[in-house]
Subunit: 312 residues, 2 copies
């Protein structure tokens, strides 16, 4: 295991917690963190990649743990002035966070690809581990609701996840190529970890890229369920599962991932759900999955790496 | 005079003081403020119009009078983060000021012309008077120095006006059309006021636009000299005049403007220079031109309007 490469698939804030933990227990050259870009959008001319930023800020240790998103020590002077100038203000733009969006947008305009920009930003933030976008090609998560088809940020931020979801699609995903390091890891990684991000909104965009599901099916894949005692720590995963007529259980998560996942890691308090997970053809591992402090994140990462060592 | 239109030609901070004064003594529909855009540039993907912003902030009463530029109550969180991200930091971007650049850039990208964007920003800031860019077409002030040809902001901000100036040119000014309101006022204004901005750097770009000099020559034009006792209040005008071998006197300013200006307004403390001004074929008026407090700006504006009423 020590010389093998670990591929980590990650969404935003929830996934970033485990990505942080993994970055603390694995050397930089053994871990590749691939991040959802289906939530990316252009707002006020700025290219915003919320999940990439969440993962970068978490690994750089500059994320706001109290608020749960964005940068620590953030201020909102630009935002207030934008409001005075009658700009749309439904998407929060912190003064510090803006620097990332400005620098990224300028670099993209200069012709750099998103993975190159992400490497430059990560390096500047002192991050040794590799964080890459799932693709340099744009993919747009579209949330189909009883209020119509909504771009992700429109659903998630502007409407606060209120509309009832009927389905989710990933525009242009059929034409988007997996980022180069991601593609290589899909062919060679000793094991894959799917972070406890929203499977439907944050992980499915990665799985929708051409060839990803097929190639993951050939790897040892460990997914961490985002559910704890029938709830999610944060976000609309449970609400959406209910709206889609799915039971909010680990077995549902296991069935969702059953063609690619070998082991579903569920919270140790949910051991009674292990038999139902097994029934879907996925093995279950019970571990402490609640991550509040840095120690929790590192402990879960260590547990997973140990379990992997036993089976890979 | 009360029904006549006043056309005000203006650069940045220095000119904005008189523009503010004029806006306090003339009704909104009697004054058109035309602003230099030769200093405009694109930085980190943001379109920045320093002189338009200085005039807008001054008229909106949100300019920082202590620092002399930018917005009052400014903070620099984004700037510090940009530095951490290794972005260029030679041009100051305040958190509040950024809102203007972001909103303007987004509006221009959506296809609005600079004068339309400026009207929207002005309206949002509660400015009743009309502020327009000299042209919607890009003009670039280039400062030719012994260190080479430098874009204006490179000379002015990055190099702090240190290089020795040999000449100044206005790139694309031959193809740039005066903004529509500006063009109309050139044909109809009862009088024109040239603010005490840097004649070589801030006013000459307006005069370089096709037809402007010729049409100004047919109007009654009052220019306020930026010199007071052989010095400028702010900026490199005196330094550049010396580098170009020009005496730092009101007579030099008068000769510079002699084909278009009827009256040069000099500071009341410089009355001894009146004969030299007359020798250049321009009439001289001595008024208190030092503007520190709002009262000074309003008083000078009132004086000028009264002088105009006597001769127009």
């Amino acid at each position: 295991m020590t010389t093998a490469n670990i591929l980590c698939l990650c969404g935003g804030v929830g996934g970033a917690k485990l990505a942080y933990g993994l970055s603390r227990v694995l050397p930089a050259d053994k871990l590749l963190i691939v991040v959802n870009t289906g939530d990316d959008f252009t707002h006020l001319g700025l290219r915003i990649c919320p999940d990439l930023d969440s993962v970068m800020y978490a690994l750089a240790g500059i994320n706001d743990q109290q608020r749960g998103w964005g940068m620590a020590g953030e201020s909102w002077q630009c935002m207030q002035m934008l409001a005075a100038l009658r700009a749309p203000t439904w998407f929060n733009l912190g003064d510090k966070d803006l620097a990332t969006h400005i620098q990224r947008t300028a670099a993209l305009q200069q012709g750099l690809a998103l993975d190159e920009v992400t490497r430059e930003l990560s390096t500047a933030l002192g991050i040794a581990h590799r964080i890459v976008p799932m693709s340099n090609d744009p993919v747009q998560t579209v949330v189909h609701t009883t209020a119509g088809a909504l771009p992700f940020q429109d659903y998630f931020v502007r409407r606060g996840c209120q509309p009832v979801v009927t389905s989710i699609s990933f525009r242009h995903s059929d034409k988007a190529r997996p980022q180069a390091d991601f593609a290589r890891a899909l062919a060679s990684a000793a094991a894959v970890i799917i972070c406890p991000s929203n499977p439907l909104l944050s992980i499915d965009p990665l799985l929708a890229l051409p060839g990803v599901r097929q190639r993951l099916a050939r790897r040892k894949v460990f997914a961490v369920s985002p559910l704890i005692q029938g709830r999610v720590v944060k976000g609309p995963a449970a609400k959406i599962m209910q709206e889609l007529g799915l039971a909010v259980t680990h077995a549902t998560i296991a069935r969702h991932y059953q063609d690619i996942v070998d082991y579903l890691i569920i919270d140790e308090g949910d051991r009674d759900e292990i038999p139902a997970v097994y029934e879907s053809g996925v093995q279950a591992l019970a571990l402490p999955t609640r991550m509040q402090q840095a120690e929790d994140k590192i402990r879960l990462a260590n547990h997973i790496i140990q379990q992997m060592a036993a089976v890979v």
